[in-house]
């Protein structure tokens, strides 16, 4: 659904290729990144000690899109609250589970705005960063 939805949209493809470093993580064969922000992203998802998603449902249907700053750790598309069916009806998707271009593009653009803000804040405080779309 994501592949043939948002990720096949020409505008999304251009934005991702020009502004992001895209990485595809197959959770069936690869542990999830060991990052503090994953606690929120993986709310209510069972993960074993080696970082692998557990449960036959998640093994079959798992999907999350996560945007991180160039430091590789800071979450730029926070969607707090955990997954609920209510999100599906009110927002049209689960948290971190956008699959349509009309949901995916705003998520990416908001993340770029946060990257820009983060870069400016770090420049003001003297911290080193290069996140700037």
């Amino acid at each position: 659904m994501l592949r043939d939805g948002a990720l096949s949209d020409a505008e999304v493809v251009d934005l991702v290729n020009n502004q992001f470093v895209p990485v595809w993580i197959n959770v069936r064969t690869t542990p999830v990144p060991d990052l503090a922000c994953m606690e929120e992203v993986l709310h209510n998802v069972r993960v074993n000690a080696n970082g692998f998603i557990q449960g036959s449902f998640s093994q079959g249907f798992f999907l999350r899109s996560v945007v991180l700053a160039s430091d590789g750790e800071t979450l730029l598309n926070p969607q707090p609250g955990g997954a609920s069916l209510g999100d599906l009806f009110t927002e049209g998707h689960f948290k971190y589970g956008q699959v349509k271009p009309q949901h995916y593009l705003p998520m990416l653009r908001q993340a770029l705005d946060r990257a820009r803000q983060l870069s400016e804040e770090r420049a003001r405080t003297g911290a080193v960063t290069s996140d700037s779309p």
Binding site: V23, V27, S130
Partner: protein, 67 residues
Amino acid sequence: MSRFSLAIPVLLSASLAGCLSHIGAKEDSGSLNIAWMEDFDAAQRAAASVGRPILAVLVAGELKDKC
């Protein structure tokens, strides 16, 4: 036992494995026009090097899922 009854365990197993939802990416799928990396550590290094955010798509399936 009908053929349908015999097929139920197979269909159930395939469904639980997500196979029914994983139609292989077509050769001309637009998603394959994205310059995907498949190693998160390498993506972290690339992001730090070029100063771009990372888009990490965590999904139950291969980039070119043949399921």
